[in-house]
Symmetry: C2
Subunit: 252 residues, 2 copies
Protein backbone atom coordinates (compact mmCIF):
# COMPACT_ATOMS: atom_id res chain seq x y z
CA UNK A 1 0.00 0.00 0.00
CA UNK A 2 1.58 3.27 -1.12
CA UNK A 3 0.76 6.29 1.06
CA UNK A 4 0.36 9.37 -1.09
CA UNK A 5 0.05 13.11 -0.52
CA UNK A 6 -1.16 15.21 -3.44
CA UNK A 7 -0.11 18.87 -3.48
CA UNK A 8 -2.38 20.96 -5.68
CA UNK A 9 -6.12 21.29 -6.23
CA UNK A 10 -6.45 22.01 -9.97
CA UNK A 11 -7.65 19.75 -12.80
CA UNK A 12 -4.65 17.43 -12.76
CA UNK A 13 -4.74 17.04 -8.97
CA UNK A 14 -8.43 16.32 -9.00
CA UNK A 15 -8.31 13.78 -11.81
CA UNK A 16 -5.29 12.03 -10.31
CA UNK A 17 -7.06 11.92 -6.97
CA UNK A 18 -10.20 10.40 -8.49
CA UNK A 19 -8.10 7.81 -10.32
CA UNK A 20 -6.12 6.81 -7.23
CA UNK A 21 -9.35 6.52 -5.23
CA UNK A 22 -10.27 3.54 -7.42
CA UNK A 23 -7.07 1.65 -6.57
CA UNK A 24 -6.79 -0.61 -3.54
CA UNK A 25 -3.00 -0.29 -3.56
CA UNK A 26 -2.80 3.46 -2.95
CA UNK A 27 -4.08 5.54 -0.08
CA UNK A 28 -4.24 9.30 -0.60
CA UNK A 29 -3.60 10.36 2.99
CA UNK A 30 -3.84 14.09 2.33
CA UNK A 31 -4.47 16.73 -0.32
CA UNK A 32 -2.79 20.10 0.24
CA UNK A 33 -3.37 23.39 -1.53
CA UNK A 34 -3.72 27.10 -0.85
CA UNK A 35 -7.15 27.33 -2.44
CA UNK A 36 -9.62 26.57 0.38
CA UNK A 37 -12.57 26.49 -1.96
CA UNK A 38 -10.95 23.94 -4.25
CA UNK A 39 -9.93 21.83 -1.25
CA UNK A 40 -13.58 21.34 -0.36
CA UNK A 41 -13.85 18.83 -3.20
CA UNK A 42 -11.47 16.47 -1.35
CA UNK A 43 -12.67 17.13 2.19
CA UNK A 44 -15.21 14.37 2.30
CA UNK A 45 -12.75 11.69 1.17
CA UNK A 46 -9.45 12.50 2.86
CA UNK A 47 -7.55 14.89 5.09
CA UNK A 48 -6.81 18.29 3.57
CA UNK A 49 -4.46 21.14 4.42
CA UNK A 50 -4.28 24.71 3.16
CA UNK A 51 -0.56 25.09 3.82
CA UNK A 52 2.45 22.95 2.93
CA UNK A 53 4.20 22.92 6.32
CA UNK A 54 3.91 19.76 8.41
CA UNK A 55 2.23 17.63 5.78
CA UNK A 56 1.38 14.05 6.69
CA UNK A 57 3.99 11.35 6.41
CA UNK A 58 3.78 9.54 3.06
CA UNK A 59 5.80 7.42 0.65
CA UNK A 60 5.27 9.76 -2.29
CA UNK A 61 4.41 13.47 -2.56
CA UNK A 62 2.96 14.34 -5.96
CA UNK A 63 3.20 18.00 -6.94
CA UNK A 64 0.28 18.72 -9.25
CA UNK A 65 0.76 22.47 -9.06
CA UNK A 66 1.53 25.10 -11.69
CA UNK A 67 5.08 25.00 -13.11
CA UNK A 68 6.02 28.23 -11.39
CA UNK A 69 4.96 26.91 -7.96
CA UNK A 70 6.89 23.61 -8.10
CA UNK A 71 10.16 24.84 -6.54
CA UNK A 72 8.39 26.77 -3.77
CA UNK A 73 6.10 23.92 -2.75
CA UNK A 74 8.88 21.31 -2.97
CA UNK A 75 10.95 23.44 -0.62
CA UNK A 76 8.49 22.61 2.19
CA UNK A 77 8.77 18.86 1.75
CA UNK A 78 11.46 17.31 3.89
CA UNK A 79 10.99 13.57 3.45
CA UNK A 80 9.63 10.89 1.12
CA UNK A 81 9.91 10.79 -2.63
CA UNK A 82 8.85 14.11 -4.19
CA UNK A 83 7.66 13.98 -7.81
CA UNK A 84 6.25 16.79 -9.92
CA UNK A 85 3.69 16.28 -12.70
CA UNK A 86 4.91 18.84 -15.21
CA UNK A 87 5.81 18.28 -18.84
CA UNK A 88 8.07 21.25 -19.21
CA UNK A 89 9.93 21.29 -15.89
CA UNK A 90 13.26 19.52 -15.37
CA UNK A 91 13.74 17.17 -12.42
CA UNK A 92 16.45 19.64 -11.34
CA UNK A 93 13.79 22.15 -10.26
CA UNK A 94 13.21 19.93 -7.23
CA UNK A 95 15.60 20.39 -4.26
CA UNK A 96 18.80 18.37 -4.62
CA UNK A 97 18.75 17.50 -0.92
CA UNK A 98 15.78 15.10 -1.19
CA UNK A 99 14.64 12.08 -3.18
CA UNK A 100 13.12 13.41 -6.36
CA UNK A 101 11.25 12.24 -9.44
CA UNK A 102 8.76 13.09 -12.16
CA UNK A 103 5.28 11.62 -12.67
CA UNK A 104 3.92 13.21 -15.85
CA UNK A 105 0.61 11.98 -17.27
CA UNK A 106 0.66 12.90 -20.95
CA UNK A 107 -2.89 14.08 -21.38
CA UNK A 108 -5.05 17.19 -21.71
CA UNK A 109 -7.13 17.80 -18.61
CA UNK A 110 -10.21 19.93 -18.33
CA UNK A 111 -12.63 20.28 -15.47
CA UNK A 112 -15.64 19.40 -17.56
CA UNK A 113 -14.43 16.07 -18.89
CA UNK A 114 -13.19 13.12 -16.89
CA UNK A 115 -10.35 11.22 -18.54
CA UNK A 116 -9.84 7.48 -18.42
CA UNK A 117 -6.36 6.98 -16.98
CA UNK A 118 -6.18 3.38 -18.13
CA UNK A 119 -4.79 4.46 -21.52
CA UNK A 120 -2.87 7.53 -20.47
CA UNK A 121 0.90 7.21 -20.85
CA UNK A 122 2.59 8.15 -17.60
CA UNK A 123 6.13 9.41 -18.14
CA UNK A 124 8.41 8.65 -15.24
CA UNK A 125 11.82 9.83 -14.16
CA UNK A 126 13.83 9.21 -10.98
CA UNK A 127 17.45 9.35 -9.90
CA UNK A 128 17.82 5.73 -8.94
CA UNK A 129 16.14 2.42 -9.66
CA UNK A 130 14.54 2.11 -6.21
CA UNK A 131 12.69 5.42 -6.61
CA UNK A 132 11.86 4.63 -10.22
CA UNK A 133 10.23 1.39 -9.10
CA UNK A 134 8.15 3.27 -6.50
CA UNK A 135 6.84 5.68 -9.16
CA UNK A 136 6.28 2.87 -11.64
CA UNK A 137 4.24 0.85 -9.14
CA UNK A 138 2.24 3.96 -8.35
CA UNK A 139 1.61 4.69 -12.04
CA UNK A 140 0.56 1.10 -12.72
CA UNK A 141 -2.18 1.48 -10.12
CA UNK A 142 -4.02 3.81 -12.48
CA UNK A 143 -2.56 3.33 -15.98
CA UNK A 144 -1.47 0.44 -18.16
CA UNK A 145 1.23 2.48 -19.87
CA UNK A 146 4.38 3.80 -18.26
CA UNK A 147 7.40 5.21 -20.08
CA UNK A 148 10.88 6.05 -18.85
CA UNK A 149 11.39 9.61 -20.09
CA UNK A 150 14.34 11.85 -19.20
CA UNK A 151 13.89 15.57 -18.48
CA UNK A 152 15.30 16.41 -21.88
CA UNK A 153 13.03 13.94 -23.64
CA UNK A 154 10.05 15.23 -21.68
CA UNK A 155 10.68 18.78 -22.89
CA UNK A 156 10.48 17.47 -26.46
CA UNK A 157 7.40 15.46 -25.66
CA UNK A 158 5.67 18.48 -24.18
CA UNK A 159 6.50 20.45 -27.31
CA UNK A 160 5.16 17.65 -29.52
CA UNK A 161 2.01 17.61 -27.37
CA UNK A 162 1.50 21.32 -28.04
CA UNK A 163 1.55 20.61 -31.78
CA UNK A 164 -0.74 17.57 -31.78
CA UNK A 165 -3.15 18.74 -29.09
CA UNK A 166 -3.24 22.52 -28.58
CA UNK A 167 -2.51 23.47 -32.19
CA UNK A 168 -4.72 20.78 -33.65
CA UNK A 169 -7.57 21.98 -31.46
CA UNK A 170 -7.09 25.49 -32.78
CA UNK A 171 -7.31 24.18 -36.35
CA UNK A 172 -10.64 22.61 -35.37
CA UNK A 173 -11.72 26.04 -34.17
CA UNK A 174 -10.70 27.57 -37.49
CA UNK A 175 -12.69 24.83 -39.28
CA UNK A 176 -15.72 25.58 -37.16
CA UNK A 177 -15.45 29.32 -37.80
CA UNK A 178 -15.27 28.80 -41.55
CA UNK A 179 -18.27 26.43 -41.51
CA UNK A 180 -20.37 28.81 -39.48
CA UNK A 181 -19.53 31.74 -41.74
CA UNK A 182 -21.07 29.66 -44.54
CA UNK A 183 -24.13 28.73 -42.49
CA UNK A 184 -22.98 25.11 -41.99
CA UNK A 185 -22.80 23.17 -38.75
CA UNK A 186 -19.37 22.07 -37.46
CA UNK A 187 -20.90 18.62 -37.02
CA UNK A 188 -20.48 18.02 -40.75
CA UNK A 189 -16.68 17.97 -40.24
CA UNK A 190 -16.60 15.45 -37.38
CA UNK A 191 -16.47 12.25 -39.48
CA UNK A 192 -13.55 13.70 -41.45
CA UNK A 193 -11.74 14.55 -38.23
CA UNK A 194 -12.35 11.03 -36.95
CA UNK A 195 -10.94 9.57 -40.14
CA UNK A 196 -7.87 11.83 -39.88
CA UNK A 197 -7.18 10.20 -36.55
CA UNK A 198 -8.08 6.67 -37.63
CA UNK A 199 -5.63 6.88 -40.52
CA UNK A 200 -2.60 7.49 -38.33
CA UNK A 201 -3.33 4.27 -36.48
CA UNK A 202 -2.71 2.49 -39.77
CA UNK A 203 0.01 4.53 -41.45
CA UNK A 204 2.44 7.31 -40.55
CA UNK A 205 1.26 10.93 -40.85
CA UNK A 206 3.94 11.28 -43.52
CA UNK A 207 2.19 8.61 -45.61
CA UNK A 208 -1.32 9.81 -44.74
CA UNK A 209 -0.83 13.37 -46.01
CA UNK A 210 -3.23 14.51 -48.73
CA UNK A 211 -4.51 17.88 -49.95
CA UNK A 212 -3.53 20.77 -52.21
CA UNK A 213 -0.15 21.44 -50.56
CA UNK A 214 0.81 17.76 -50.79
CA UNK A 215 -0.05 17.75 -54.49
CA UNK A 216 1.67 21.10 -54.97
CA UNK A 217 -1.65 22.32 -56.39
CA UNK A 218 -0.89 26.04 -56.39
CA UNK A 219 -4.11 26.90 -58.22
CA UNK A 220 -6.36 25.51 -55.45
CA UNK A 221 -4.14 27.04 -52.79
CA UNK A 222 -4.54 30.45 -54.39
CA UNK A 223 -8.32 30.13 -54.55
CA UNK A 224 -8.49 28.99 -50.94
CA UNK A 225 -6.24 31.77 -49.67
CA UNK A 226 -8.47 34.34 -51.34
CA UNK A 227 -11.46 32.91 -49.48
CA UNK A 228 -9.93 33.48 -46.04
CA UNK A 229 -10.80 36.82 -44.50
CA UNK A 230 -9.07 36.48 -41.14
CA UNK A 231 -5.39 37.49 -41.45
CA UNK A 232 -4.25 35.03 -38.76
CA UNK A 233 -5.95 32.14 -40.53
CA UNK A 234 -4.33 33.23 -43.80
CA UNK A 235 -0.96 33.13 -42.08
CA UNK A 236 -1.67 29.63 -40.75
CA UNK A 237 -2.73 28.48 -44.22
CA UNK A 238 0.48 29.77 -45.78
CA UNK A 239 2.82 28.55 -43.07
CA UNK A 240 1.52 25.00 -42.91
CA UNK A 241 1.21 24.71 -46.69
CA UNK A 242 4.85 25.79 -47.01
CA UNK A 243 5.91 23.27 -44.42
CA UNK A 244 4.05 20.46 -46.19
CA UNK A 245 5.59 21.40 -49.53
CA UNK A 246 9.02 21.48 -47.96
CA UNK A 247 8.49 18.09 -46.33
CA UNK A 248 7.69 16.41 -49.63
CA UNK A 249 10.21 18.37 -51.69
CA UNK A 250 12.87 16.75 -49.51
CA UNK A 251 11.38 13.36 -50.28
CA UNK A 252 11.78 13.69 -54.03
CA UNK B 1 -33.11 0.76 -59.14
CA UNK B 2 -30.79 3.60 -60.11
CA UNK B 3 -28.51 2.89 -63.06
CA UNK B 4 -25.12 4.50 -62.50
CA UNK B 5 -22.02 5.16 -64.57
CA UNK B 6 -18.88 6.14 -62.71
CA UNK B 7 -16.29 8.17 -64.62
CA UNK B 8 -12.86 7.93 -63.06
CA UNK B 9 -10.67 5.17 -61.66
CA UNK B 10 -8.86 6.80 -58.71
CA UNK B 11 -9.39 6.39 -54.96
CA UNK B 12 -12.74 8.15 -54.83
CA UNK B 13 -14.10 6.24 -57.83
CA UNK B 14 -12.95 2.93 -56.39
CA UNK B 15 -14.33 3.51 -52.92
CA UNK B 16 -17.65 4.81 -54.28
CA UNK B 17 -17.85 1.77 -56.54
CA UNK B 18 -17.22 -0.63 -53.65
CA UNK B 19 -19.84 1.12 -51.55
CA UNK B 20 -22.49 1.06 -54.30
CA UNK B 21 -21.79 -2.63 -54.93
CA UNK B 22 -23.21 -3.34 -51.46
CA UNK B 23 -26.54 -1.66 -52.27
CA UNK B 24 -29.43 -3.50 -53.87
CA UNK B 25 -30.92 -0.22 -55.10
CA UNK B 26 -28.07 0.83 -57.37
CA UNK B 27 -26.54 -0.85 -60.35
CA UNK B 28 -23.18 0.42 -61.56
CA UNK B 29 -23.59 -0.34 -65.24
CA UNK B 30 -20.19 0.96 -66.30
CA UNK B 31 -16.94 2.45 -65.09
CA UNK B 32 -15.06 4.65 -67.56
CA UNK B 33 -11.54 6.02 -67.37
CA UNK B 34 -8.46 6.60 -69.49
CA UNK B 35 -6.19 4.54 -67.26
CA UNK B 36 -6.47 0.95 -68.62
CA UNK B 37 -4.51 -0.50 -65.75
CA UNK B 38 -6.74 1.09 -63.12
CA UNK B 39 -9.84 -0.09 -65.01
CA UNK B 40 -8.78 -3.69 -64.48
CA UNK B 41 -9.95 -3.41 -60.86
CA UNK B 42 -13.55 -2.99 -62.04
CA UNK B 43 -13.44 -5.40 -65.00
CA UNK B 44 -14.60 -8.44 -63.12
CA UNK B 45 -17.67 -6.72 -61.71
CA UNK B 46 -19.03 -4.48 -64.44
CA UNK B 47 -18.57 -3.15 -67.94
CA UNK B 48 -15.63 -0.77 -68.40
CA UNK B 49 -14.60 1.72 -71.07
CA UNK B 50 -11.32 3.54 -71.64
CA UNK B 51 -12.96 6.46 -73.42
CA UNK B 52 -15.90 8.72 -72.60
CA UNK B 53 -17.70 8.63 -75.97
CA UNK B 54 -20.78 6.44 -76.21
CA UNK B 55 -21.05 5.57 -72.56
CA UNK B 56 -23.90 3.32 -71.47
CA UNK B 57 -27.31 4.74 -70.78
CA UNK B 58 -27.76 5.54 -67.09
CA UNK B 59 -29.81 7.65 -64.68
CA UNK B 60 -26.77 9.26 -63.09
CA UNK B 61 -23.20 9.85 -64.26
CA UNK B 62 -20.83 10.45 -61.37
CA UNK B 63 -17.61 12.24 -62.26
CA UNK B 64 -14.97 11.07 -59.81
CA UNK B 65 -12.12 12.56 -61.79
CA UNK B 66 -9.54 15.24 -60.98
CA UNK B 67 -10.90 18.79 -60.75
CA UNK B 68 -9.13 19.83 -63.93
CA UNK B 69 -10.71 16.98 -65.92
CA UNK B 70 -14.32 17.61 -64.88
CA UNK B 71 -15.26 20.02 -67.67
CA UNK B 72 -13.62 17.88 -70.38
CA UNK B 73 -15.22 14.62 -69.30
CA UNK B 74 -18.64 16.24 -68.75
CA UNK B 75 -18.50 17.55 -72.29
CA UNK B 76 -18.82 13.96 -73.57
CA UNK B 77 -21.98 13.23 -71.59
CA UNK B 78 -25.14 14.00 -73.49
CA UNK B 79 -27.90 12.65 -71.28
CA UNK B 80 -28.85 11.73 -67.73
CA UNK B 81 -28.01 13.62 -64.59
CA UNK B 82 -24.30 14.48 -64.47
CA UNK B 83 -22.81 15.09 -61.01
CA UNK B 84 -19.20 15.75 -60.09
CA UNK B 85 -17.63 14.70 -56.76
CA UNK B 86 -15.36 17.66 -56.16
CA UNK B 87 -15.23 19.88 -53.09
CA UNK B 88 -13.69 22.88 -54.76
CA UNK B 89 -15.49 22.94 -58.11
CA UNK B 90 -18.67 24.91 -58.74
CA UNK B 91 -21.69 23.24 -60.29
CA UNK B 92 -21.21 25.78 -63.09
CA UNK B 93 -18.19 23.88 -64.37
CA UNK B 94 -20.62 21.33 -65.78
CA UNK B 95 -22.19 22.12 -69.19
CA UNK B 96 -25.28 24.31 -68.89
CA UNK B 97 -27.01 22.32 -71.61
CA UNK B 98 -27.57 19.23 -69.45
CA UNK B 99 -28.98 18.23 -66.06
CA UNK B 100 -26.26 18.81 -63.53
CA UNK B 101 -25.48 18.29 -59.87
CA UNK B 102 -22.83 17.70 -57.23
CA UNK B 103 -22.28 14.56 -55.16
CA UNK B 104 -19.41 15.37 -52.78
CA UNK B 105 -18.49 12.86 -50.06
CA UNK B 106 -16.68 14.87 -47.40
CA UNK B 107 -13.91 12.47 -46.55
CA UNK B 108 -10.21 11.77 -47.03
CA UNK B 109 -9.61 8.83 -49.34
CA UNK B 110 -6.45 6.80 -49.64
CA UNK B 111 -5.85 3.62 -51.52
CA UNK B 112 -4.57 1.75 -48.47
CA UNK B 113 -7.56 2.32 -46.21
CA UNK B 114 -11.17 1.51 -46.94
CA UNK B 115 -13.61 4.03 -45.50
CA UNK B 116 -17.01 3.24 -44.08
CA UNK B 117 -19.48 5.32 -46.06
CA UNK B 118 -22.24 4.87 -43.51
CA UNK B 119 -21.02 7.91 -41.52
CA UNK B 120 -19.65 10.00 -44.35
CA UNK B 121 -21.58 13.22 -44.97
CA UNK B 122 -22.53 13.45 -48.63
CA UNK B 123 -22.98 17.04 -49.76
CA UNK B 124 -25.51 17.41 -52.53
CA UNK B 125 -26.44 20.12 -54.97
CA UNK B 126 -28.80 20.18 -57.94
CA UNK B 127 -30.69 22.75 -60.00
CA UNK B 128 -34.17 21.46 -59.26
CA UNK B 129 -35.94 19.33 -56.70
CA UNK B 130 -36.41 16.34 -59.01
CA UNK B 131 -32.68 16.05 -59.63
CA UNK B 132 -31.93 16.74 -55.96
CA UNK B 133 -34.17 13.84 -55.00
CA UNK B 134 -32.37 11.53 -57.44
CA UNK B 135 -29.00 12.41 -55.88
CA UNK B 136 -30.37 12.17 -52.36
CA UNK B 137 -31.80 8.70 -52.99
CA UNK B 138 -28.48 7.65 -54.48
CA UNK B 139 -26.54 9.02 -51.50
CA UNK B 140 -28.84 7.34 -49.01
CA UNK B 141 -27.99 3.98 -50.59
CA UNK B 142 -24.50 4.24 -49.11
CA UNK B 143 -24.60 6.90 -46.36
CA UNK B 144 -26.91 7.89 -43.54
CA UNK B 145 -25.99 11.56 -43.78
CA UNK B 146 -26.81 13.88 -46.64
CA UNK B 147 -26.53 17.66 -46.61
CA UNK B 148 -27.82 20.28 -49.02
CA UNK B 149 -24.73 22.39 -49.74
CA UNK B 150 -24.50 25.15 -52.33
CA UNK B 151 -21.39 25.63 -54.48
CA UNK B 152 -20.37 28.60 -52.39
CA UNK B 153 -20.85 26.72 -49.12
CA UNK B 154 -18.95 23.76 -50.51
CA UNK B 155 -15.93 25.95 -51.27
CA UNK B 156 -15.92 26.98 -47.61
CA UNK B 157 -16.38 23.41 -46.50
CA UNK B 158 -13.46 22.25 -48.60
CA UNK B 159 -11.32 24.98 -47.08
CA UNK B 160 -12.40 23.99 -43.57
CA UNK B 161 -11.57 20.38 -44.46
CA UNK B 162 -8.04 21.41 -45.42
CA UNK B 163 -7.58 22.91 -41.95
CA UNK B 164 -9.06 20.05 -39.92
CA UNK B 165 -7.72 17.19 -42.04
CA UNK B 166 -4.65 18.09 -44.14
CA UNK B 167 -3.17 20.62 -41.74
CA UNK B 168 -3.97 18.58 -38.64
CA UNK B 169 -2.25 15.59 -40.21
CA UNK B 170 0.84 17.70 -40.84
CA UNK B 171 0.86 18.71 -37.16
CA UNK B 172 0.83 14.99 -36.33
CA UNK B 173 3.86 14.62 -38.59
CA UNK B 174 5.62 17.46 -36.76
CA UNK B 175 4.80 15.75 -33.45
CA UNK B 176 6.22 12.48 -34.71
CA UNK B 177 9.40 14.17 -35.93
CA UNK B 178 9.97 15.86 -32.56
CA UNK B 179 9.38 12.58 -30.69
CA UNK B 180 11.77 10.66 -32.87
CA UNK B 181 14.47 13.30 -32.53
CA UNK B 182 14.27 12.64 -28.79
CA UNK B 183 14.32 8.86 -29.22
CA UNK B 184 10.63 8.45 -28.33
CA UNK B 185 7.99 6.55 -30.25
CA UNK B 186 5.08 8.48 -31.82
CA UNK B 187 2.79 5.91 -30.21
CA UNK B 188 3.17 7.75 -26.89
CA UNK B 189 1.20 10.68 -28.38
CA UNK B 190 -1.76 8.66 -29.68
CA UNK B 191 -3.90 8.73 -26.50
CA UNK B 192 -3.48 12.50 -26.32
CA UNK B 193 -4.54 12.83 -29.94
CA UNK B 194 -7.57 10.64 -29.27
CA UNK B 195 -8.56 12.80 -26.31
CA UNK B 196 -8.17 15.95 -28.43
CA UNK B 197 -10.81 14.52 -30.71
CA UNK B 198 -13.03 13.14 -27.95
CA UNK B 199 -13.17 16.56 -26.31
CA UNK B 200 -14.73 18.28 -29.31
CA UNK B 201 -17.60 15.82 -29.22
CA UNK B 202 -18.44 17.27 -25.80
CA UNK B 203 -17.52 20.95 -26.06
CA UNK B 204 -16.61 23.43 -28.79
CA UNK B 205 -12.94 23.72 -29.82
CA UNK B 206 -13.13 27.28 -28.51
CA UNK B 207 -13.94 25.93 -25.04
CA UNK B 208 -11.54 22.98 -25.31
CA UNK B 209 -8.44 25.09 -25.99
CA UNK B 210 -5.57 24.65 -23.51
CA UNK B 211 -1.80 25.19 -23.64
CA UNK B 212 0.80 27.94 -23.31
CA UNK B 213 -0.70 30.23 -25.99
CA UNK B 214 -4.15 29.99 -24.39
CA UNK B 215 -2.67 30.93 -21.01
CA UNK B 216 -0.56 33.64 -22.61
CA UNK B 217 2.43 31.88 -21.02
CA UNK B 218 5.18 33.69 -22.92
CA UNK B 219 7.94 32.10 -20.84
CA UNK B 220 7.04 28.53 -21.89
CA UNK B 221 6.49 29.67 -25.48
CA UNK B 222 10.00 31.13 -25.55
CA UNK B 223 11.57 27.93 -24.18
CA UNK B 224 9.64 25.80 -26.66
CA UNK B 225 10.54 27.98 -29.63
CA UNK B 226 14.21 27.67 -28.76
CA UNK B 227 13.89 23.90 -28.82
CA UNK B 228 12.65 23.79 -32.41
CA UNK B 229 15.41 23.43 -34.99
CA UNK B 230 13.33 23.24 -38.18
CA UNK B 231 12.53 26.78 -39.42
CA UNK B 232 9.18 25.76 -40.90
CA UNK B 233 8.07 24.22 -37.62
CA UNK B 234 9.18 27.39 -35.81
CA UNK B 235 7.02 29.41 -38.18
CA UNK B 236 4.04 27.11 -37.52
CA UNK B 237 4.56 27.44 -33.77
CA UNK B 238 4.60 31.22 -33.94
CA UNK B 239 1.70 31.58 -36.36
CA UNK B 240 -0.71 29.29 -34.52
CA UNK B 241 0.28 30.65 -31.10
CA UNK B 242 -0.42 34.17 -32.36
CA UNK B 243 -3.77 33.11 -33.72
CA UNK B 244 -4.74 31.46 -30.42
CA UNK B 245 -3.72 34.55 -28.46
CA UNK B 246 -5.70 36.73 -30.82
CA UNK B 247 -8.76 34.48 -30.50
CA UNK B 248 -8.85 34.79 -26.73
CA UNK B 249 -7.82 38.43 -26.59
CA UNK B 250 -11.03 39.15 -28.49
CA UNK B 251 -12.96 37.20 -25.88
CA UNK B 252 -11.80 39.33 -22.96
Amino acid sequence: MTRLVICGTGNVARQLFDAFQTSADVKVVQVAGRNREALAYFDKYTDTSDHFNNLRKADVYLLAVSDSAIATVAHHLKEGLVAHCSGSTSIDHLPESGRRGVFYPLQTFSQELKVDFENIPICLEAENEVDYKVLEDLALCISGKTYRVSSEQRLGLHLAAVFVNNFTNHLFHVGQTICEQKGLSFEILLPLIEETLRKINHMTPLEAQTGPARRNDIHTEQIQLEQIENKSYQAIYKTISNSIQETYAKEL
